[in-house]
Symmetry: C2
């Protein structure tokens, strides 16, 4: 099974894919998020794994836009704690380190650890896992990289320090995507807290229209877990709303809520229904 | 009067500042948005102008976070249509052009125009106005830059083609910020459509809590113009909501709505009340 991800093998998306689908997958590394969606659409991959939000940085807004423009289904979600590790080439000791490579966001998430070593140069790199790959390819003897444990395993690096991130409340939520015509997948790990459904809708530009749209859920005791707004292209100052709520599209209550919402909205699409 | 902006003089923030405050201002160029907020806080600037949302790309989420962490007031808003121009050094002709410099986002917003000149090299630069500044400093005779009309005026460039952007529905909304202790400003240009108020609140993590919070507005016929969610740090999967609504904080109806909202929320702050 081939799974499209953004970034190099060993990235956090790869880690999420392994947790969702098990060790026997092959990942197809794509440069941009749009390429991940296209690779799945064109059939060169059997599934795709994308990050959708992070508890420190917020939503990956670009991926919300791609969900709308491509016709994929969300078949699972996974919350992954982001654990950063200091990785070196085998044989390199802690005291040999003079430079540390990683993606700027990862460097910024390990300021306490890096602050204890002010003599180290911090070198921004295009990708966390990519920095481990480069370290091992170039056999750098004076450098470390900050990345996932999976990346150390894949490229043959050695983890010198585990869990060096500043904030342990740093989670990324991933979606597993499939094409609408594909059969259901057997998942290795999935939520056990009932079901979640992800939709997008646009309201008419009238006072109180978002409130009325949300009443479709509130009046049926359906609980929203996330709402995200994105601009509607060509209609300045109007918005699309991406909503996740607890419930299964097969439930009568959810069917009625979506029917009610359809009455109130110009656009309504269901992206998927999956275990929460 | 000194106005802090992000980016070089001649940027769209500069254009917004001129429209809001007139030609007699001095802009203080800052590298990052955080520096803009800090420059105002420390008193090195009398005001600040920041972009908050764009009709193609969505919100500038980072600035929502800064609004929360600094204690500034929003005293005005301005919607500016983003007009891109092809700018060259005086004496350079259209047929001399071999390279075009600009910020990658601006290059991407002029694909139709650039597509008609496939032989031109597109060179990404750190800033739109910065590319005009560089062009004139280096006296490049084979290059153009894509930037605002204001930048041509400031650096002495010549506009060869006006309004080369693909999408004329490309607007950026700017906020004019002041410190809470500063007196009201006389504005050159401001809305005439009544008043708008910007707030942030966090709801308790309970089913229907966002719906109940929005009822404080809907039940009083107060119209929301924007809602934006941001993650709450340290409380994974909980959110802050940034809301703009039509109304003045001095109106009895708005006072009651904010009082009602306070009952329902853990946090409520008013960022400002200004002409819409």
């Amino acid at each position: 099974m081939t799974v499209a991800i953004q970034g190099e093998a060993g990235s956090f998306s790869h880690e999420a894919a392994l947790r969702l689908l098990g060790a026997r997958i092959r990942v197809q590394s794509c440069q941009r998020f749009e390429d991940v969606f296209r690779t799945l659409q064109e059939g060169s991959a059997d599934a795709a794994v994308i990050p959708i939000e992070n508890t420190l940085h917020g939503s990956v807004h670009e991926n919300y836009d791609h969900l709308l423009h491509f016709d994929h289904r969300i078949v699972a979600e996974l919350n992954l704690r982001i654990v950063h590790n200091l990785i070196v080439c085998p044989g390199v000791r802690f005291r040999d380190i003079r430079r540390v490579f990683s993606h700027p966001v990862a460097l910024n998430q390990c300021l306490r650890f890096l602050g204890a070593h002010p003599d180290w140069e911090r070198v921004p790199f295009y990708d966390t896992a990519g920095s481990v790959k480069m370290l091992l390819e170039e056999r750098l003897a004076d450098a470390g990289a900050i990345a996932s444990a999976v990346s150390a395993e894949i490229y043959g690096g050695r983890i010198l320090r585990r869990s060096i991130e500043d904030d342990r409340q740093n989670y990324t939520r991933f979606f597993l995507l499939r094409r609408p015509d594909q059969p259901p997948l057997k998942l290795k790990e999935q939520g056990k807290k009932g079901w979640k459904t992800s939709i997008v809708f646009s309201t008419r530009n009238q006072p109180g229209s978002l409130f009325r749209a949300l009443s479709a859920f509130a009046l049926r005791d359906l609980s929203l877990t996330k709402i995200e707004s994105r601009p509607l292209r060509g209609r300045p100052w109007e918005y699309l709303f991406y909503v996740d709520f607890l419930g299964n599209v097969e439930d009568e209550r959810v069917k009625r809520a979506l029917g009610h919402l359809e009455e109130l909205c110009d656009l309504l699409r269901v992206f998927g229904c999956y275990r929460a």
